[in-house]
Symmetry: C2
Subunit: 153 residues, 2 copies
C-alpha cells in the first residue's frame, strides 16, 4: 500500500521516480484533499500498530506526508528547526508505517507504526503521553527506558 504512493509524490518531493513513471503527470490530488492549515501543516498522530498505544503527535507538511507514503518511514516537519524531520535520524528510533488514515474533516493524519527501539519520546520513554492527571496535578506514570543522553550523542 505504502509503496504505491511513490509515483504520486514525486512532484512534491522532487525525487526522480521509479522507471516507467512520469513525474510531470503525477496525480497529487490526494495531497490536495488534506486540509492544510494556514502554515501548510496538519497534526499527525503516531499510534503503535500492535498495542494501540498513542506514541506521539507531530506536524507534517505536504512534503513530509508525501515522503512518508513514498518510503514507508515516518517523516515529520519540525517547526522548531523549520526542516523535515525523518523520525529516528538521530536517535535511531525509526517508525515504520503500516497504515495512514485521514479524519472526517481531513485536518488530522493518523499513522499506525512499528516503533523501532520501543521508544518514541525524546525523554527516553515509550510514549510522549507519560503524564496522567490525578489529584489535581499531572503525574509522571511511565518510566524512562533509556537515558536521553545516550540516545542523542
Amino acid at each position: 500500500m505504502i509503496g504505491t504512493a511513490e509515483a504520486m509524490s514525486q512532484r512534491t518531493t522532487g525525487k526522480s521516480g521509479p522507471e516507467g513513471t512520469r513525474p510531470g503527470t503525477a496525480d497529487t490530488s490526494w495531497l490536495d484533499e488534506v486540509a492544510w492549515d494556514a502554515a501548510g501543516l496538519v497534526p499527525a498522530i503516531a499510534q503503535d500498530a500492535d498495542s494501540g498505544d498513542i506514541l506521539m503527535v507531530a506536524w507534517m507538511n505536504r512534503e513530509a506526508l508525501a515522503e512518508t507514503l513514498a518510503t514507508g518511514r515516518a517523516v515529520y516537519w519540525s517547526r522548531s528547526r523549520a526542516r523535515l524531520w525523518r523520525k529516528g535520524e538521530e536517535s535511531g528510533h525509526v517508525q515504520t508505517v503500516r497504515e495512514v488514515r485521514l479524519d472526517c474533516d481531513a485536518d488530522v493524519v493518523l499513522l499506525r507504526v512499528e516503533q523501532r527501539g520501543g521508544i518514541a519520546c525524546h525523554t527516553g520513554r515509550r510514549s510522549c503521553f507519560f503524564r496522567r492527571f490525578a489529584d489535581g496535578r499531572w503525574e509522571v506514570v511511565d518510566p524512562v527506558l533509556k537515558d536521553p543522553e545516550s540516545i542523542y550523542r
Copy 2:
C-alpha cells in the same frame, strides 16, 4: 481520579464547588502547565479506553479541560461555533472520561474514554479516521453505523 479535579477547576468554570472547598483558593497551576496555543487552545485526542481505537481529535480551551476533569465527561471547544461543545449534547454520543494524559511538551491532551453508542463521528461512524490511504487515494474503509439524519434530528 477525575472527581478530585473538581475543586481545582472552580475558578475557571465558575461553578459553585462541593461543600468544604473554597473557590478563592483553588489551585489551577495544572491548567497553567498546558502549553495553550496563541488562540488559547490545545488539540485533544479521544481514544477508546477498551479497544485503543482513536475516535476523534477536537480542540479544548481552559474551560473545556477544566469542565472535562470536573465532570468526567468530555467537553471540547467548537471553533466553528465558538462555544463549548459538550460531546453528545445533540447526538447523545457522550464520552465518559477514564483518564486524561498530557504529552511531553504539554501541547496535546489525550483522553481515554468510553464512547456511548459506539459512534464518535458526525458521519455516523465509530471513528472519524475512516479513510485509509491506498493506491494513491484516500479510501473509505469503515461503515456508517447510523444515518446522521437520525442522529441529529
